[in-house]
């Protein structure tokens, strides 16, 4: 349209929404094509445009509202933009090209931009509408929280994501007691992996904020106002205020009612255009290529493209964004970007510095960075993000990439030369502050020649153990040819520490979860491998009985499904027969099951049990249910655990029997069954030295004699045949039970995962075991008591639990798809 004076009449552009996306769009547009449009902006909030992501510092009292205003009233006036504050657009008439506000104002447009942002999600639980339940979205929310904070009391924040944690930290800074309730096992699981989530949780808890993870909110309690939060495990948290911060959803209602294409958000193409050619959308309300964004950088990228489009640059196109995150809580540095989702040891680089609480992980694919997580030291975040966005080939700097930009360009050193080149005051052990000079002095002056000796003299590598390899290199460099490498065997490629060292640190540092172990001991992978994960799961289970949550996915299939996998993928089932005893009723149940489920092979085992072979996985729960009705329970024939106690008939029947070996075997099996151990444990009780139960090739064997019981340990009859060693003699059955349980507990607490009992005895020395069990009465009793405590946690029959429905999805296919053939 041309005006009488020959100028083009500017087109009318109307923006619905005045958040960060709209604000940035205006800036970009005014810079590109000033005067091209006559612009009107409608904002639902009764104020000018402000930096929403800075609301957290406002809540925390670190900034005032005036500090976070982006465009003040003067800016709108100077740029000729009409701002309608506090006016919500409620309808769009696409045919008439008008937008109508709640108060009845009708505005016509040539081009319309929808920038309605997003709305907080409120979980649909009882009590969600009570006074005292707030969200964290705009300045009004912040004011409501601050009003409550001035009265003190306790706040429960539901949601341990970015927003929830910022709210929690802000409220804590205002003097409130704060609890964070998070549904997932680790905080900020969308942006962080488990290791960084662990460090974050520690940092949050250090501020005095309680963190409940894996916590599902069942209801918000209170009559007339909020009084607390109830979790579905029965726990309650008293609270005067509940902050709902579980997430946001695109606010696409207006667009939908106007008949625009809407899925999760307002659908736009690469030109930011909706399904109506005159209507665009930008920001958090948008769905682009199936993605919705809730972070600020993508919004700015969208705003830039849209401004170009509105300026007539038809080629400008938005291709989606790589999201990066920072948590705005003072004193907590974390950064995440891109897809750091699962990677493995060959395509990830991990750096952990336990003493500084630093964790860095870069995920690679084809020598290109696809994602990064940084915790504790985030300086290089933007650099990694830049490499990621540029899709840069990092092969040449792979060796030093993780150390950041400052360390690029140098050639990698031979580790021996690197250590030799260090000055004497270079710190080798960060935890204990031990310098190179101190270690060299211990080697040269005190004759320390092994890692253990250096550790004893200097405390180097005695805390987190990360520097163990460095210390060894230093010993080798100092002693030259005089150094004989120890046969320390690292646990796996993820870690330089041995199994025994890891076990020691789990106790001394009270590490009670897998992420805790991996971070504090400096795992070189982000989440372990099939070798270390089952070992760690066992170590944690053994160290913290009843407290550590078993990780089924870190167990070998046999222990996960409580049956033995066979070469064709079927399973074998071995019910427990206490001491090898059975009854007609049990045998009948086994026979019935074998027939009912077409079990192809039924066999007697070497441990005096009956083995049902060739069972289909999906039949397992039903078979267990049938066996359970006859009183049969799991025989743990699949477990790194106590398997069987084999017995002879003993003096009850045998003319040579000296003691009641069968009944002792049953007692032993009832005491020990269900216990997880480093490797399988088989026992036997023979009623006389003729040893019909073959007790002298078992892990633990008891041989009855006239005067009492000889306790043998460390036998084996598998890959290696090894006769037992005599541990000692006791007079009574009661003492036998106590000694056997105590030995088993010592083995459970000390052995490397997968080391059979004899291997552990060979490493630690029979004499030492004998002294502890047979001579140190207090030690033996303490071991026995600890064993009883650990048994409390495993007193449930795993078969009965599963027959009753626990973990049933393990045993059924996800789906059965038999297409109806129509060709």
């Amino acid at each position: 349209m041309t005006l009488p004076n020959g100028k083009r009449k500017p087109e009318k552009l109307v923006a619905v929404g005045n958040g960060m996306a709209a604000g940035r769009l205006l800036e970009e547009l005014l810079a590109r094509s000033p005067g091209r449009y006559e612009i009107a902006v409608f904002g639902a909030e009764p104020r000018v445009n402000y930096n929403r992501i800075m609301l957290s510092p406002v809540l925390a009292g670190e900034k005032a509202f005036a500090d976070i205003v982006i465009h003040d009233d003067a800016w709108y006036a100077n740029n000729g933009v009409t701002l309608h504050k506090g006016k919500t657009v409620v309808a769009i008439d696409r045919a008439a090209r008008t937008a109508t506000t709640a108060c009845g104002h009708v505005e016509t447009y040539d081009k319309l931009v929808i920038a309605t942002g997003s709305t907080p999600i409120a979980i649909p639980v009882h009590g969600v509408n009570l006074p005292g339940v707030v969200t964290f979205r705009d300045l009004d929310d912040v004011d409501a929280m601050l009003r409550q904070a001035r009265q003190g009391g306790h706040a429960a924040v539901i949601g341990g994501g970015l927003l929830g944690l910022e709210a929690a930290a802000g409220l804590k800074a205002n003097g409130m007691g704060v609890s964070v309730v998070h549904l997932m096992p680790t905080l900020m699981e969308r942006q962080l992996d488990a290791s960084a989530g662990y460090l974050l949780q520690k940092a949050i808890e250090r501020r005095g904020i309680d963190v409940f993870t894996g916590a599902n909110t069942q209801a918000i309690l209170g009559e007339s106002k909020v009084e607390g939060v109830k979790l579905d495990d029965g726990r309650t948290i008293d609270a005067d205020m509940v902050v709902m911060a579980v997430g946001i959803r695109p606010n696409a209602r207006l667009a939908k009612e106007a008949g625009l294409a809407v899925d999760r958000g307002v659908k736009v193409d690469d030109a930011m255009r909706t399904s109506d050619a005159n209507i665009y959308a930008v920001g958090e309300c948008v769905e682009h290529r199936g993605q919705c964004y809730g972070l600020v950088a993508p919004l700015f990228e969208m705003a830039k493209i849209l401004a170009a489009q509105l300026s007539g640059e038809d080629s400008a196109a938005y291709h989606g964004s790589v999201a990066s995150t920072k948590l705005k809580v003072t004193g907590i540095d974390l950064f995440s970007a891109g897809d750091f989702s699962e990677s493995d040891e060959n395509d990830e680089i991990v750096l952990r510095d336990p003493s500084r609480g630093v964790y860095k992980r870069i995920a690679l694919r084809d020598n290109r960075i696809v994602g990064a997580v940084l915790y504790g030291d985030t300086e290089d975040g933007p650099w990694f993000l830049d490499l990621l966005k540029k899709n840069a080939d990092i092969d040449a700097m792979r060796g030093t990439l993780i150390f950041g930009r400052a360390y690029q360009g140098g050639a990698p050193l031979d580790p021996m030369a690197a250590v030799a080149a260090l000055p004497d005051d270079a710190e080798i052990c960060g935890c204990n502050g031990v310098c190179k000079g101190t270690i060299v002095a211990a080697i040269t002056a005190k004759g320390a020649a092994s890692l253990e000796q250096v550790r004893a003299h200097t405390k180097a590598s005695a805390s987190c153990g990360q520097c163990a390899t460095k210390v060894e290199t230093l010993i080798a460099a100092t002693l030259g040819n005089g150094y004989r490498a120890s046969n320390r065997k690292p646990m796996c490629r993820c870690i330089d520490l041995t199994h025994e060292e890891v076990r020691g640190f789990i106790l001394s540092k009270s590490l009670d979860s897998m992420p805790a172990v991996m971070q504090e001991l400096g795992w070189k992978t982000s989440c372990g491998c099939p070798a270390c994960r089952p070992a760690l799961n066992y170590y944690l289970l053994c160290a913290w009985p009843g407290q550590y949550q078993d990780d089924a996915q870190s167990r070998f299939v046999n222990e996960r499904v409580h049956a033995n996998i066979q070469k064709d993928g079927t399973f074998s089932v071995v019910p427990r027969m206490w001491g090898g005893l059975t009854t007609p009723n049990e045998l009948r149940a086994i026979a019935d099951v074998a027939e009912r489920f077409d079990i192809p092979t039924v066999k007697v085992t070497g441990g005096q049990r009956i083995d049902l072979l060739g069972v289909k996985k999906e039949d397992l729960p039903a078979i267990w249910a049938d066996l359970g009705k006859a009183g049969l329970v799991s025989g743990h024939a699949y477990a790194k655990g106590v398997r069987t106690v084999k017995t002879c008939v003993g003096k009850e029947w045998c003319r040579f029997g000296t003691q009641n070996s069968t009944s002792l075997g049953v007692q032993l099996e009832r005491l020990l069954c269900g216990s997880w151990t480093p490797a399988k444990v088989k026992l036997a009780v023979s009623g006389c030295p003729r040893n019909c139960a073959e007790a002298t090739v078992k892990d633990i064997g008891v041989i009855c004699v006239d005067s009492g019981f000889d306790i043998h340990i460390a036998g084996a009859a598998g890959l290696r045949v090894r006769a037992t060693d005599l541990l000692g003699h006791v007079d009574t059955e009661r003492e036998t039970l106590e000694c056997v349980a105590a030995v088993l507990q010592l083995y459970r607490e000390e052995a490397a995962y997968l080391d059979r009992l004899y291997k552990w005895v060979e490493k630690t020395g029979l004499e030492r075991v004998r002294r502890i069990i047979m001579e140190d009465r207090a030690a033996r009793q303490a071991l026995y008591q600890r064993f009883l405590v650990s048994q409390r946690a495993v007193r449930k029959d795993p078969w009965a639990e599963r027959a009753a429905g626990f973990g049933l999805q393990e045993f059924s296919p996800l789906a059965i798809v038999m297409p109806i053939a129509a060709e």
Binding site: S341, D344, V561, I565, P813, V817
Partner: protein, 112 residues
């Protein structure tokens, strides 16, 4: 329906597959293992190890790999290839997550 048009079948919600675990989908032609990694990626492979036919769905999932439960071959979930010195390949199938549900491309899954 032509063989080119993808036949995406909804096989269930993602949460039904354990993190760092797998579930199977039974089809007339074969069993397919659908894996879920720690960070909620999904992959689908024929549920047979290229070595001796072991059920890969029963293996320990680590990173984007699975260790076969029978003889500990390590199979790459993305490519289906055996890693390390072992040679062999498990057949891959297209799989995707949309709005929390897992979809398997059945056109491929039913071809011999």
């Amino acid at each position: 329906m032509t063989c080119l048009s993808p036949n995406w079948f909804d096989i269930g919600p993602l949460y039904q597959i354990p993190r760092r675990g797998a579930r199977t989908v039974k089809t007339a032609r074969r069993d397919i293992a659908v894996f879920r990694t720690a960070s909620d990626e999904v992959f689908a492979l024929e549920n047979r190890c290229p070595h001796r036919g072991g059920p890969l769905s029963e293996g320990i999932v680590h990173g984007r790999k699975v260790a076969c439960p029978l003889h500990n071959w390590i199979i790459d979930l993305d490519s289906g290839l055996a890693t390390g010195a072992d040679e062999g390949c498990a057949r891959r199938f297209p799989v995707k997550i949309e709005q929390g549900r897992v979809y398997l491309e059945m056109g491929m899954a039913v071809t011999p």
